[in-house]
Symmetry: C2
Subunit: 331 residues, 2 copies
C-alpha cells in the first residue's frame, strides 16, 4: 500500500498537523504517458502555506481530500513513457506520498548531479537555490562592493543568497532569529555580518552592520523586519520580494508603514519574484549552483526528518522556526 498525506481541512493561518491525515491507497495502474516514481525525499517549504491558502495566490489551492502538493525526488520504478526509463532519478511535483503515478509534465528535471546527495535537488539545487540565484541576479542586479541584506538569512533560500552575493563580490549581511542562526550565518554561510532580529534595536544593529546603506534587500519576511529595513535603503536600491514569511495571515490584510515614499526618495525598486516564471533558466542555474557546491563555495544545511509520518507537523514546525537548514523528509 502507498501512504499519502491528505489535506483534510483548510487552516486559516499556517496548516497544523491536524489539518492532514495519512491515507493508505493502492497504487493505480499507469495510463499511457505516465510514470511511477518511488520518492526518496519529500520537500517542506514555507511557500506551502500559500499553496494551501484559499485566498488569491500564484497557484490554485490544494483541494480538500487531495494529496498535499510537494516537490520530491525519487527514482522511476515503472514507466509508460518512452523518454523516461526505469531507474532514472527525477525531481518534480510528486506530492507528499511514498509512490507517485504522474504524467511526465510533473517532472521538473532529471537529476544528473548524482555525485551529490539526492536531497539537494529539493534545496540548494532545487527551487530554493534556483530562486536565490535567479532572484538575486535578475532583480537584485548585484554589483561588486554593494551591501546585500538578506532576511531569513540562514534559511534554505537566504543562506544561498548570502553566499552567492559573496561569490559575486558583494558584502552580505544576514538577518536571522537568535544567536544560533546568526552564528551559522557568519561561520557557515560566509556573511560579513549577521543581525539578530529578536534582539533589541534592530535598526541600530542594521546601521552598524550596513554603514553605507543597503543596496539590495533580499526580502523573505516582509512585516516588522522590512519596516526597519526600508528607511535604510541606499540610493538606487533594489528590493527583491521573494516571500512574506513573517505575515501570519493576509485576511484581514495587514497594515504597515507606507513604502512608496522610501521608494521615491531613494529612487529604489521593489519587485516580486516567483520561480515558476523562469523554467527556461532553471537548468543553467542548477548547473552553476552544482559547480559552486562542488568547489565548496556554496554550502548548505539540511534538516532531515525520517519517515512520512513526520509530514503533517513539518510545515507548522518551519513556522515555529525549529529547523536549521532546508527541511526535507527522508522516506
Amino acid at each position: 500500500m502507498n501512504r499519502q498525506i491528505i489535506l483534510t481541512s483548510r487552516p486559516t493561518g499556517v496548516a497544523q498537523a491536524n489539518n492532514f491525515e495519512i491515507r493508505h491507497a493502492d497504487d493505480p495502474i499507469l495510463a499511457d504517458g505516465q510514470i511511477r516514481v518511488a520518492n526518496r525525499f519529500l520537500s517542506v517549504e514555507p511557500a506551502m502555506r500559500g499553496w494551501i491558502a484559499d485566498a488569491g495566490n500564484y497557484s490554485a489551492p490544494v483541494g480538500i481530500g487531495e494529496v498535499m502538493r510537494s516537490l520530491a525526488v525519487g527514482e522511476i520504478v515503472e514507466s509508460r513513457h518512452p523518454d523516461y526509463a526505469v531507474g532514472t532519478i527525477v525531481t518534480g511535483w510528486f506530492g507528499w506520498q511514498e509512490r507517485s503515478a504522474v504524467e511526465v509534465s510533473a517532472v521538473v528535471r532529471r537529476v544528473t548531479e548524482i555525485d551529490l546527495p539526492l536531497s539537494l535537488a529539493l534545496g540548494v539545487l532545487g527551487i530554493n537555490g534556483v530562486t536565490a540565484h535567479l532572484a538575486l541576479t535578475m532583480i537584485g542586479d548585484p554589483q561588486p562592493g554593494e551591501t546585500v541584506l538578506v532576511s531569513t538569512a540562514a534559511g534554505a533560500v537566504g543562506s544561498a543568497v548570502g553566499q552567492i552575493a559573496t561569490i559575486l563580490g558583494c558584502r552580505a549581511v544576514g538577518i536571522a532569529g537568535g544567536p544560533t542562526k546568526t552564528g551559522q550565518c557568519r561561520t557557515m554561510f560566509g556573511y560579513a555580518d549577521a543581525v539578530d532580529y529578536k534582539a533589541p534595536d534592530l535598526g541600530g544593529a542594521l546601521d552598524r552592520a550596513c554603514p553605507t546603506g543597503i543596496d539590495i534587500y533580499f526580502d523573505n519576511t516582509a512585516g516588522a523586519i522590512s519596516d526597519t529595513v526600508y528607511p535604510r535603503l541606499a540610493l538606487g536600491a533594489r528590493v527583491v520580494i521573494c516571500g512574506t514569511a513573517s505575515i501570519p495571515s493576509w485576511d484581514p490584510w495587514p497594515q504597515g508603514p507606507r513604502i512608496e515614499r522610501y521608494l521615491l526618495l531613494k529612487r529604489a525598486r521593489a519587485q516580486g519574484f516567483v520561480i515558476f516564471d523562469h523554467q527556461d533558466r532553471y537548468a543553467a542555474s542548477v548547473a552553476q549552483l552544482a559547480t559552486w557546491v562542488r568547489s565548496g563555495e556554496l554550502r548548505y544545511a539540511e534538516d532531515i526528518l525520517e519517515g512520512i509520518e513526520e509530514c503533517p507537523d513539518a510545515l507548522a514546525g518551519l513556522y515555529r522556526g525549529e529547523n536549521q537548514g532546508k527541511r526535507v523528509i527522508r522516506l
Copy 2:
C-alpha cells in the same frame, strides 16, 4: 527694487500664504560668471511641499529667510558669463522673484522652442512633461495595447502621461477628482476612460475601466487611491512612483495596506522616479515633447495667475485642488 517671496516659517504640512512674505531688495552687482534674469513666469509645483519640508527629502530644504526655490523662465538682461548673451531666454532655478542674479549652473537649459508659449518651459516642456515622458518610458516600459492608469490624471504631469501613453499605443485610464477634471481627461487629454476618485466605489469603477487589469500604474498620489489600485495590478505590472500628493504629512509616518504581497503575487515592480537624476536625457525629451505639442498630439492646460503677489497662496491652492492645469505665475 526687486520683489522676492521669502519663506519666513516652516509649515508642518503644506505651506500656506502666511509662511511667506514679499520682500523688496536691491539688485546685487553681478560677480564674474553670473547672469541676471528677468523672470517672465514662475512655477508652482506640488513638489514644493517637499522642498520646504524639514524632513528627509531628495534635496536640502529651503532655508528660513531664503527666496522660495522655484523654476522660472525669463530673459537674460545682464551677463558676466561669455557663453550667456543678453537677450537669451533661459529656464532654471531662479526662485520666486522678479529678477534673479545667479551662477550659470542655475540654468537648466536655453529655451529654443520660441515658436511656443514661454510658460511651457515650466510645464509640458519643463520638468512636468519631461518627468511624464521619462518616468513613463524608463520605468513603465509601455507596450502597445497595455492599460496605463494615471493618478492626478488631469494634472501637469498626469495629463502628459496619459497622452504620451496613448501616443505609444497604450490604453490610458485617468483618475481625477470630480466631474470637471474627469471630463477634461476624456475630452482634452484623450484618455480612453476616466474615473472620479471622489465618487463612491472607486474599486468598482476601476474594475469597469480596466477590465484586464492595470499593466502600468503611474502614481502621483499614493494613499487611498493607490490602496485601491494595487489589488488590481495585472501580472508583470509596473508601478511608477512619481509623487505622493495625497499624503498630507510623513510625520508621523502613515500606515497603509502592505503592498509587498501584491508585488509578489503579480510579479510586479514598483520604482521611484526623480527627474533630477536624468539631466542627460532632458534635452532630447524636451525636443520630443515639443514635436508632439506642435503636431497637436500633446495638449496642455495652464492655470496662469497674474503677479508675484499671487505666489504665497499659490502652493496651498494647488493642494486645495483649485487649479485646472499647470499653475504658473506671470510677471
